[in-house]
Structures are given as structure tokens and as C-alpha cells.
Amino acid sequence: MEWLAQQLAPGLIYPTAGAILFALGLYGLIRRHHLVLRILALNIMGSGVFMVLLGIAARGEGPPDPVAQALTLTGIVVAVSATAFALALVVRLTRITGQAVMLPGPPDDHAPVDDISREEHAPSAEYDREHRE
């Protein structure tokens, strides 16, 4: 029993699971086409990397390695802002091409490529006038 618990210590199984998560995310990234799913796959890969880092940091006796934890914390915040930016790009792409997938060629020439504010918020001119006064 004790031997089993030692073999399955968090410092061993969590990094292994992290590696599997990374591979799973990679598989999804290659196979799926919808860009939101690809962003999710990238996030899952990132979580796998964080799990490897923190799992290794938690190995052995004593408190875990604070440097690895600080790096992971930095990584999480960077990941969330990159995700937000990527999602904004996906919305923009969908507005231009009508599909949230990567197209093989450049988008049609006649597709509308103007500012989102004109399409989404009709009262723009009116608001501008109000604002100037």
C-alpha cells in the first residue's frame, strides 16, 4: 500500500497528466477547424505545461519551488490576455469572411472591411455631434 502511494505521488502523476494534456491539446489543435476550438486547444496545451511546471516544483520534501509557481502565475495572466486578443481577432475575421475558420486563400475582395462601429452602432454620427458640443 505504502509503495503504491509513493509511486503515485503528486510529483509524478501530475506532470505525466500534464504531458498527456499537452498532447491532447496538440491533437485537437491539428484536427479541429473552428478557430474558437483551436483557441481552447491552445489553452489546454498551456494548462498542461503549467501542470508539468507545478508538478515538478512540488516534488520532494519541503515547500514547493516558488520560482516555478511565480512563472506559472505570470503565464496564466499572459495566457488569458492572449486568449482575449485571439477571440477578438476571430470575431473580426468572422465579420469579414462570414466563417470562423481559416480560409485557404485571401478573403473576397468585395467583402466589407470597414470599422465595426459603423455596422454595430448606428448612432455613431449622432453621438459624435453630442460629444463635440
Binding site: G60, Q69, V77, A84, L87, T97, Q99
Partner: protein, 331 residues
């Protein structure tokens, strides 16, 4: 007994995590994928707890529950609205090149073609196998924990992770704040918003909840920021909590939300990076080096930087959620 039960907990948790990730990436319905991803974040926070990383769990709680979920759900709604609008054919728009299937494509991804199965599986197996092999053969190392422990008394704070983030490796934190700001600039380059019209709630429940949650969120954010000097917590977690509260306000929008005037907003967004850089340069001039502090001044300087960073992170997250620059900027 307890050790064995902890192993059982770990195994159940990891099986759940891998299963949720797998089903999430195998979904054809995007909404389902997003809900599974939110659950994934919850289980991930439990995993960080088991890896003795309460700081990370705190950040994951704030970001996973408050920000990523809302961001993904709102993105799905935006995609759906765009496709529905195109399908109806706006007068000034050309006919939809994507055809009648576009509506399904907006929120559904058809199962991937068979021919990608074998190469993708092989590639993933090779990469995953290499990683697992490397991890199993990695020699045991002590890591940097003793080094950090040795220098704690000059760091100015009592919590090792805050010491690493804001003193020993301040470089990383500074550049990270810069990256968050750059992501926002990227999102701002995509378009602008004039204002977000009010959406009065149909009943008293949402405004009532807001009246409870937003003040508590502000107090909790300040508490977590304060706790960061001696216990798990700090600028990132506090910023994420305050940012989530801001997102809640943007979502509920009890009244018309004119986009904030340009200069105070920009000052707030840049405060973290600017203050960090200013203090870092002063450190370079008076001796300890770029982004270094004299030990006697470390504590107050760290607190000042953390307050500014919290404000910037919170504002940036809300602005990234809105994802358009304020209209007032263009003249």
C-alpha cells in the same frame, strides 16, 4: 489511510480533467465545448490546490470562473449574431459567400476529416511520449526554493512568491504587464465602440445581486492584494477579481455605459508598466541596478507597484472584454 485516499482523490481528479479536456476538444457543438472548458478550469484549480500552489489556484479561480468563461460565452454570442445578420442580408452588404451552411458553421464545427486522424494522432503521441519519457527520467533536483528562502529577509515581503514576482524576478513581471498592455493595443486596433447601450434587467434579481456582489468583490480584491505580502494573494489575483467585477458590470449594464474619456483610462491602463519602469530606472541610477530596490525601501515600493499593477490589470481585462477602443480617441 489518508495518504491512500489522497492518491484516490488525485486519480479521480486527473481522470476527470483528461476526460473533460478530451470531450471538450471532440465537441461539434461549440457551446458544449465552452461549458466543458469552464468545468476544466474548475478542476484545474483543484489540481493546483493539490500541488501546493494556492496562489495559482486563486488566480485560476478568478480568471477561470470570472473572465475566461464570460469571454468565451460572449464571443459565441457575437459570432452567432454576425452570422445571423449576414444571413438576413443587410442592404449595404453583399450576399453571403459562405452560403446557407454558414449559420451552422458559426457555432458548430463538423467532425474533422478522416485523413487527418492518423498523422495528428502520430504527432501527438510522439510529442506526448517524448515529454512523458523526459519527465520520468528527470533527475531529482532541489530547485530554487533554498535560494529564495535564504534571501527572503532582503525581499521586503514575507511571502516567497510575491518576493520572486516583484523583487527577485521583477523583470518577468514587468514584461508580463507590458504583454498584457500590448494584447489590449492589438484588440483596440480592431475597431471602436461609441457606447454600450443600457439593458434594463427584466426583474429585480440581477440588480439586487449586483448590489451585493460588486462591493464585496472590491473588498475581496483589496483584501487579496493586502494578503499578498504575507500569504497567498497579490496583484494578479486582486486585479483579476476586480476585472471580473468590472466585466459583471459591463454585462449587466444597469445604465448606458459611455466609453470612458480617453486620458484617465489610458493613464490607468499604463499605470502598472509606467510606475514599474520609473522605479526600475531610479533603481538603476541610485545603485541596485535596473528594477532593483534598496532593501530598506523594498516593502513600500513593492506595495506601490502592486497597487498600480492591480489597477492596470483590472482595467485591461475589462477593456479586453469589451474589445474595442473608446470612440473619443479618434480625433
Amino acid at each position: 489511510m489518508s495518504d491512500l485516499l489522497l492518491v484516490v482523490f488525485d486519480l479521480v481528479l486527473l481522470v476527470g480533467l483528461l476526460g473533460v479536456a478530451w470531450r471538450c476538444l471532440a465537441s461539434t457543438d461549440l457551446f458544449r465545448a465552452v461549458v466543458l472548458f469552464i468545468t476544466f478550469g474548475l478542476l484545474l484549480a483543484l489540481a493546483w490546490v493539490r500541488l501546493e500552489a494556492p496562489d495559482i489556484a486563486l488566480a485560476e479561480a478568478a480568471i477561470g470562473a470570472g473572465i475566461t468563461g464570460a469571454l468565451l460565452l460572449v464571443t459565441l454570442e457575437r459570432l452567432r449574431s454576425i452570422v445571423v445578420e449576414r444571413r438576413r442580408g443587410q442592404p449595404d452588404e453583399p450576399p453571403d459567400p459562405a452560403g446557407a451552411d454558414a449559420l451552422l458553421h458559426a457555432l458548430h464545427d463538423p467532425p474533422p476529416p478522416r485523413r487527418t486522424f492518423v498523422p495528428a494522432l502520430t504527432f501527438a503521441l510522439v510529442v506526448g511520449g517524448l515529454m512523458v519519457t523526459a519527465l520520468w527520467h528527470q533527475p531529482d533536483a532541489v530547485g530554487l526554493e533554498p535560494v529564495v528562502d535564504e534571501h527572503m529577509d532582503v525581499s521586503g515581503v514575507d511571502h516567497p512568491i510575491t518576493a520572486v514576482l516583484l523583487n527577485f524576478r521583477a523583470y518577468d513581471t514587468f514584461l508580463e504587464l507590458a504583454i498584457v498592455l500590448i494584447a489590449l493595443l492589438g484588440a483596440w486596433s480592431l475597431g471602436r465602440y461609441d457606447r454600450l447601450p443600457a439593458r434594463p434587467a427584466p426583474g429585480p434579481i440581477l440588480p439586487g445581486t449586483l448590489r451585493l456582489l460588486v462591493p464585496v468583490a472590491i473588498v475581496t480584491g483589496v483584501y487579496i492584494l493586502w494578503a499578498g505580502s504575507h500569504a497567498p494573494g497579490g496583484a494578479f489575483q486582486a486585479g483579476a477579481i476586480l476585472g471580473a467585477a468590472g466585466i459583471l458590470l459591463v454585462l449587466a449594464r444597469p445604465r448606458d455605459l459611455p466609453m470612458a474619456p480617453s486620458s484617465p483610462l489610458r493613464l490607468g491602463l499604463a499605470a502598472g508598466v509606467a510606475l514599474f519602469l520609473a522605479i526600475g530606472i531610479v533603481g538603476l541610477l541610485i545603485g541596485p541596478g535596473l528594477l532593483g530596490y534598496p532593501p530598506a525601501w523594498a516593502y513600500p515600493l513593492i506595495i506601490v507597484i502592486e497597487v498600480a499593477a492591480t489597477l492596470s490589470i483590472a482595467l485591461t481585462l475589462v477593456a479586453l472584454f469589451i474589445a474595442g477602443r473608446p470612440a473619443g480617441d479618434d480625433r
